[in-house]
Symmetry: C2
Subunit: 253 residues, 2 copies
């Protein structure tokens, strides 16, 4: 990676699930040390207190490419943070920003990881994700539908815990019901399911149910919801989900 001779630098910062208290110290330090902070309005608002000293460049959802290009351009001469909800990698900005930097590059880039929406949701639900898991986005804006469906089939068949991001995309609200039907081919109706909306943010909603009853909550589920489907060993404990890691095969309590 070549470095420019100027003082610029670009941080791609995972800010975590939303509340400022889930920011890492490293992410906070990068934000506090940045002359410019680039991001979409929702994430900028969540970080308002931390970034109040910086010049803010905000764009709406969907303006990702323009935002990435602007951040790369500014980082030739300035210290810039571009912020990503959750982790910088997991459905985050790192990919797009590096793609832009690769083409328009000659900037120094540092990526700062964050707490994923998945980890935040799992914590609220108990311990659903302590064994092998697969993470699938139902957004067919960027991935062809047949690839998504193949992944759902494979993950369900191989008994992965399944985390579903973007269960409802704006124009294709039927994708979620279809995904549930695929998973039900392989997994019993009493499989525990967690539905988490706005984890750590205003309007936080945590629901535990089962695969057979999940469509009762169809109206609740939207783009900002994360759905976690247990594996064949997961069980409900009150309103929590426990997926044993296998200790019960090895130890007596």
């Amino acid at each position: 990676m070549s470095r420019s001779l100027s003082q610029g630098k670009l941080y791609i910062v995972g800010i975590g699930p939303g509340a400022v208290e889930y920011l890492t110290k490293k992410a906070e330090k990068a934000l506090l040390g940045s002359e410019y902070v680039v991001g979409n309005g929702t994430y900028l608002d969540q970080m308002a207190e931390v970034i109040k000293g910086a010049k803010i460049i905000r764009s709406g959802m969907g303006g990702e490419v323009e935002r990435a290009r602007k951040a790369v351009e500014l980082s030739r001469e300035h210290v810039v943070s571009i912020i990503s909800g959750g982790d910088a990698n997991v459905y985050g900005m790192a990919g797009l920003v590096l793609e832009v930097a690769e083409k328009e590059g000659d900037v120094e880039v540092e990526i700062i990881p964050g707490v994923t929406a998945l980890s935040a949701a799992a914590s609220l639900l108990g311990a659903p994700v302590v064994s092998d898991f697969a993470v699938i986005s139902l957004s067919d804006l960027l991935t062809p539908t047949d690839v998504i469906e193949r992944r759902l089939n494979s993950a369900a068949e191989a008994d992965f815990v399944i985390a579903i991001y973007n269960p409802k995309s704006r124009n294709r609200r039927q994708n979620f019901g279809k995904a549930v039907e695929i998973i039900r081919k392989y997994r019993s109706d009493d499989t525990p399911v967690g539905i988490v909306k706005n984890a750590t943010r205003e309007g936080e909603t945590v629901i535990t149910t089962t695969l057979g009853k999940i469509m009762d909550y169809n109206e609740t589920i939207d783009m900002s919801t994360l759905v976690l489907i247990g594996n064949s060993e997961s069980r409900l404990w009150g309103n929590r989900i426990i997926t044993p890691r296998g200790y019960q095969r090895k130890y007596e309590y």
Copy 2:
């Protein structure tokens, strides 16, 4: 969940990949407010500065069940943190602690998520994990070998980015080579691969290579290594890995 009448509380705290700067503010607050901190020696040492005011209960790796039981017991009357490397869920302590609490319970439990080793490794490698991914541990201590192999086959076949935790277990050092052979049935030899050891800690090692050459690094890979295998669209950019999220199908740069 019933709550005890005493003042006790149990935090299950994901401390992140290792360095203190990857701790969230919420995790730090829980640790600073705990009378007891329970964990294995490695993680306690990483957090030494933060937990110096607490009573420390340390046990070696493998003493997980005993440690969980002790933490649950103490939390009836005290504020206790039990610490988990990375996230509390992802191969973390949340599962075991809730299993113990379920049996010996009547304690108040709060789970605090953390930055996973996976997110830390991905950040060091660039942007390998921005699309759908599967996470598999090769440790056959807690999961039967045939289940692990089925998951490797399914994840490779469905073109998930694959993250491998515990690539070498203490007694079965051949598992990793076998896993690579399974993945190579489905993915080309020039698929980018990242090998990250001790992310954010002393001895941090970051290697980018390809699936065909991965066994050249066989001696480097140990229990504390995370291996990331790209999907069919991943590519190398210098010493970084980029997995396009699909923007190239949608936008012109």
